[in-house]
């Protein structure tokens, strides 16, 4: 039945038995369900932002007094004297080792992970792809202490041969010069173990993205005469690029923050060791230095110095993720 204006008024007037219109199951109108779910989603989003803000505020509040009392340049100094009263600490060494080890780990893990994902989705027969995927995911279930011990005692014993070959071939580059550290405890060994830890993350996410490539694109490429590799290069990889970048950023976050494996494998350097660019050097990352000294945070100033290091790691991960987001957003503008 319509009103004068032609709008249906069935929903407005009471029905023949005198019941209110649309009473009974209110959820069927969508109002309550909408409010509940929308509220929950919004609350979850606010909660996450609040958590991140609280972590940032905690780090800042602990670190600022120590930073203010620091007598040397925080970003460029290699000293770390936080016990005596003239506080002198700088993170140049820590920043270099953290970034360097993570970059080498990603250089190894990303091509390897993408290749494994391509194999699982594009090349492997159906009966192989599921078990292969589970096996790679199993790598993520191994605890980091186990990785650390394995890296030190199993992988480390084979590294001296590899290291001497690399030094002989590429030793003219400062990146590959010998630094006198035992071959099982160098940044290079740690990076290899980190890459194995990051591999399941990169592979799992890339696998999901490649599996969602529109079949239309793939068929079109094949129909135009592309070989399997050309089809992957023109249809699958460009589609999956934002996903692969996301996966790499997640993996990079894990590599930057990895604590126990680095603590067990990497040899710390004595104070006053001269700076070296080599990947066969030792050192400490932010996470391993904080974990190593966590039992001896005697004074608030000392704890503050370590919190400042943690703050730098926090900001570093933040910046890296922001860059990744920008790259992905720009890619999205060009894909459909």
């Amino acid at each position: 039945m319509s009103t004068i204006t032609g709008v249906s008024s069935v929903d407005e007037l009471p029905d023949p038995e005198g019941h209110r219109p649309l009473h009974g199951d209110r959820a069927s109108t969508g109002q309550l369900g909408d409010r509940l779910f929308g509220g929950t989603a919004r609350g979850a989003g606010v909660l996450i932002i609040a958590l991140v803000t609280m972590v940032a505020v905690f780090l800042l509040s602990q670190a600022l007094p120590a930073l203010a009392a620091d007598k040397v340049n925080f970003l460029t100094s290699t000293q770390w004297n936080v016990d005596a009263t003239p506080l002198q600490f700088g993170i140049a060494n820590l920043l270099w080792v953290t970034v360097f080890s993570s970059v080498i780990a990603m250089v190894i893990a990303v091509p390897l992970g993408v290749s494994v994902a391509l194999f699982i989705t594009q090349y492997a027969p159906r009966w192989l792809s599921r078990p292969a995927a589970s096996l790679v995911d199993l790598l993520a279930a191994v605890p980091s202490i186990v990785y650390g011990l394995w890296g030190l005692q199993v992988l480390g014993t084979h590294m001296s041969g590899v290291q001497s070959v690399m030094e002989k071939l590429l030793g003219w580059l400062p990146l590959f010069q010998d630094a006198g550290i035992d071959a099982s405890s160098t940044i290079f060994t740690v990076s290899i173990v980190l890459s194995i830890m990051v591999l399941p993350i990169v592979t799992a996410l890339s696998r999901e993205v490649f599996a969602q490539t529109p079949t239309l694109h793939k068929e079109a490429a094949l129909a135009l005469g592309a070989t399997r590799w050309e089809m992957i290069r023109t249809a699958v990889l460009p589609f999956g690029r934002p996903g692969v970048i996301s996966a790499s950023m997640l993996g990079l976050g894990r590599a930057l923050g990895e604590t126990v494996a680095v603590m067990v494998i990497l040899s710390a350097l004595a104070d006053g060791t001269p700076w070296s660019w080599s990947m066969f050097n030792g050192g400490e990352t932010f996470a391993s230095k904080i974990a190593n000294n966590a039992a001896e945070f005697d004074t608030p100033r000392k704890a503050g110095a370590f919190m400042a290091a943690g703050l730098v790691l926090f900001l570093l991960t933040f910046v890296v993720n922001a860059i990744a987001r920008i790259v992905i957003e720009r890619r999205k503008a060009f894909s459909e």
Binding site: A270, N292, T299
Partner: protein
């Protein structure tokens, strides 16, 4: 027939289950039999909490388990959170006793109005006492295949850990070890990258006995050269897998990893690391505490023949007049058992040295005076 056989199966299963449960109750608890045959010691019941030094964790766990076997009504908890945390928690009144690698210090604590000793005295409302309890020998452990006996003097050790001597067949080392063929392997020094009382005492030893060869500062943070590894297990494992490696670590770790342990010649002849040799060095220490406050000042340059000079002493920090009187009997009983001659001798099997008898007696007197 079908129902009957099913019922029979259910009956048999039920009897089997009940039988298993009943028979499992027949196992004897070895703890109860031991306590019934133990001589009647003073056994108060209650709970004690302590925390602090990690160097004495193994010793105190052994003492706790021995005490709890004889006194089943007592529960004593100790967590190795580090000497710094132990002192802090003791001053804050959160624990009944603290464990620390060094006695409460007399230097101003940053952020408070006093020293650790005065702050503890204030928190206890009575003098806080440092009771030496555990003697941990520090071994200079090395890995040189083919060299089973190595003699080092403080000067040569300082030069090795400073990076001045870099190969094993250096003339300075060879002069101390006549008749031993030393290989030309480079020396790989490993140090503790975490802050530790072992580093503190080792650097104090080097500075105390060879000050001209060890100009660097002493402290919980390593000031020499080498590669840093985490915790005693880290340095010991590193030396075990690196030929030519050398480090300073607790005696038990060097023994368990079957590393070579150097003999130390402090000026009175080479001394092998044994429990009695370390106790002799503790006897040579000076008492700098007054009355029942038994702080020791170790003489690292001791020339007492047969004394092994590299060690650390951990103290139990207690309030002379505790704030919870109900716990006093248990505290006194536990500490007395810990300081008893039997327990101290038992600790040798896990890599500690016994306190000399004279100091044991002084510690027991102090424990008796707790109230």
């Amino acid at each position: 027939m079908n129902i009957q056989s099913r019922r029979r199966l259910a009956c048999v299963t039920g009897v089997a289950l009940v039988g298993t449960l009943a028979l499992s109750g027949c196992g004897s608890n070895s703890n109860t039999t031991a306590s019934s045959t133990a001589k009647s010691t003073n056994c108060p019941s209650g709970t004690l909490d302590g925390e602090g030094s990690t160097a004495q964790v193994n010793a105190i766990q052994q003492a706790i388990s021995d005490f709890q076997t004889t006194c089943s009504g007592a529960t004593i908890n100790y967590s190795g959170t580090g000497s710094g945390a132990g002192v802090k928690q003791f001053i804050a009144g959160q624990v009944d006793f603290g464990g620390s690698d060094s006695a409460l210090s007399n230097k101003l604590t940053a952020g408070t109005a006093g020293t650790e000793q005065t702050n503890a005295d204030k928190a206890c409302n009575s003098p806080a006492w440092n009771l030496p309890m555990v003697v941990g020998p520090i071994a200079i452990a090395y890995n040189l295949p083919g060299v089973s006996k190595l003699i080092l003097t403080p000067a040569v050790a300082a030069k090795i850990f400073n990076g001045v001597i870099t190969t094993w067949n250096n003339p300075a080392i060879a002069a101390l070890n006549k008749g031993v063929t030393l290989p030309s392997t480079p020396i790989k020094v490993f140090f503790r990258s975490d802050e530790s009382g072992t580093t503190d005492n080792f650097t104090k030893y080097l500075k105390g006995s060879a000050p001209s060869d060890w100009p660097a500062a002493t402290g919980k943070k390593w000031t020499g050269k080498g590669e840093g590894k985490d915790a005693s297990s880290g340095v010991s494992d590193a030396v075990k897998s690196a030929a030519g490696g050398i480090t300073y670590t607790e005696w038990s770790y060097a023994r368990d990893d079957k590393l070579g342990i150097a003999e130390i010649d402090n000026g009175a002849g080479p001394v092998v690391l044994t429990g009695p040799a370390v106790s002799m060095a503790v006897s040579a220490a000076k008492h700098v505490g007054t009355g029942n406050n038994l702080t020791l000042k170790l003489d690292y340059a001791t020339k007492v023949p047969g004394a092994y000079p590299i060690l650390l002493v951990t103290y139990e920090l207690v309030c002379s007049k505790t704030k919870s009187p109900a716990k006093v009997p248990l505290l006194k009983a536990f500490l007395a058992s810990f300081a008893s001659a039997g327990e101290q001798t038992k600790l040798q099997s896990i890599g500690y040295a016994p306190l000399p008898a004279a100091i044991q007696a002084q510690v027991r007197t102090a424990i008796g005076a707790l109230s």
